[in-house]
């Protein structure tokens, strides 16, 4: 019985240590624009991307005071709904709120823009379904892209931010 108990504790401790060592760490000072500039190189499109201005963040995100840096880009082609963005939060608490706000932005887009996109660019609708939000340290990134390009987007972001 004693041996079983010691074995269980040892196994549990080993598992915990492994989990801690697998936790990724991310850089915290790369400008968001630099990250998206690199993303654009990985995801070139005809006529390129344009940056959303501060009005877009102000009126489309429930909170716009949580980040200390952000960059949001969209495809200039008006029949292409590609867009992606990244925010940097000053601390963990703000990051958590930012994550919720960005997820809310994506959910709202899925609801409010679906009818319009289905009517004028039905081939683009799957991008709404594959739209996703992820966080890396104090960064929150989102992408409204095809499934494959979404993966490439997040891989690029993680590669740039991983320590």
């Amino acid at each position: 019985m004693k041996r079983l108990l010691i074995l269980s504790i040892t196994l549990f401790a080993t598992a915990s240590l492994l989990a801690c060592s697998n936790k990724k760490e991310y850089l915290d000072s790369i400008p968001c624009a630099d990250i998206l500039n690199e993303v654009e190189k990985q995801l070139p499109i005809e006529l390129g991307y344009e940056s959303y201005d501060t009005d877009h963040v102000k009126y489309n995100f429930e909170r716009y005071d949580l980040d200390d840096d952000h960059a949001l880009r969209y495809s200039v082609r008006s029949d292409n709904i590609d867009e992606f963005g990244i925010f940097h939060a000053p601390d963990e608490k703000a990051k958590a709120e930012l994550l919720a706000v960005t997820e809310s932005y994506i959910e709202e887009m899925k609801k409010s823009k679906r009818t319009f996109i289905e009517s004028y660019a039905p081939n683009e609708t799957p991008k709404l379904d594959s739209a996703e939000v992820r966080d890396y340290g104090n960064y929150v990134a989102y992408a409204v892209l095809s499934e494959d390009n979404c993966e490439l987007f997040f891989e690029t972001v993680e590669r740039l931010l991983e320590k």
């Binding site: 959303y52 877009h56 009126y59 489309n60 008006s78 409010s112 004028y120």
Partner: protein, 254 residues
């Protein structure tokens, strides 16, 4: 003393009421020989003729684009007076000012500002308000105005001499398919009415003109006249567009 006070108060109230009545943005009908310039709303005028219509470039949602499909402008279905992207529609949002369109001159996809700079129309009629109507109301007037102002400023920079007219967004009919909406037809029309008021206020503030085309489209219940829609409740018939063009000609901007 009491009588004098009563008389004075009555006079003040009457003066206030009279002043309120005359300071409305709605203008009276004027004579056939006159085009009223005052205020934002383009009032009734003499018929400006087909050359006047030919001097317009139109930009808006699918209900603007369908003037092309109905062949009601010069050039018929090949008219070069409609600015649109390949899908034939647009939504007024924070990126509209920077969207791509098909150039009426070259037929290639270019930025809106480049298309306007190439055409340099004498008049440009902008009509927005149905696409994203619910979202616009949710985000509020300030958002709607900021999107429109960015678009207007882009056009002004590209073609400073172009006279910009903001048009009322058309209402929808009682048979509008609302399955994709979270509101009723009545509510949607009330939202359109609200954004039309915002548009009028914006035209007033920016020194532009406003064309209240809805005067000829709306029925007594505030819906699009049933006979003017093609079956889906919001896209218009050829006759409806001819009525709109007649309204534009007879509410001229000189």
């Amino acid at each position: 003393m009491k009588r004098k006070l009563l008389f004075t108060v009555t006079a003040i109230i009457l003066a206030f009421l009279l002043n309120s009545c005359t300071s409305s943005k709605t203008l009276p009908v004027v004579s056939d020989n006159e085009v009223v310039q005052s205020g934002a709303i383009l009032a009734e005028s003499k018929d400006m003729g087909d050359d006047y219509i030919d001097s317009f470039l139109f930009f808006g949602e699918s209900t603007t684009y369908h003037m092309k499909n109905r062949g009601v402008l010069s050039g018929g279905k090949d008219t070069k007076q409609i600015l649109a992207n390949r899908s034939g529609t647009a939504i007024l949002d924070s990126s509209t000012y920077n969207m791509t369109v098909i150039s009426p001159i070259t037929g290639k996809e270019v930025l809106l500002k480049d298309a306007v700079a190439a055409v340099r129309p004498k008049y440009m009629l902008l009509t927005f308000g149905l696409n994203g109507a619910v979202g616009n109301i949710k985000k509020g007037e300030e958002y709607f105005r900021s999107c429109y102002i960015k678009l207007i400023d882009t056009i002004k920079s590209a073609s400073p001499d172009t006279r910009i007219i903001l048009g009322s967004c058309f209402p929808v009919a009682s048979n509008m398919n609302m399955s994709s909406y979270t509101v009723t037809v009545k509510e949607l029309n009330s939202y359109i009415e609200i954004t039309n008021q915002w548009t009028l206020d914006l035209a007033d503030d920016e020194g532009l003109r406003y064309l209240n085309v809805n005067e000829v489209l709306i029925d007594s219940n505030g819906y699009l006249k049933f006979e003017y829609q093609v079956g889906d409740g919001h896209h218009l018939t050829r006759d409806a567009y001819l009525k709109i063009l007649e309204y534009i000609r007879t509410h001229g901007y000189k």
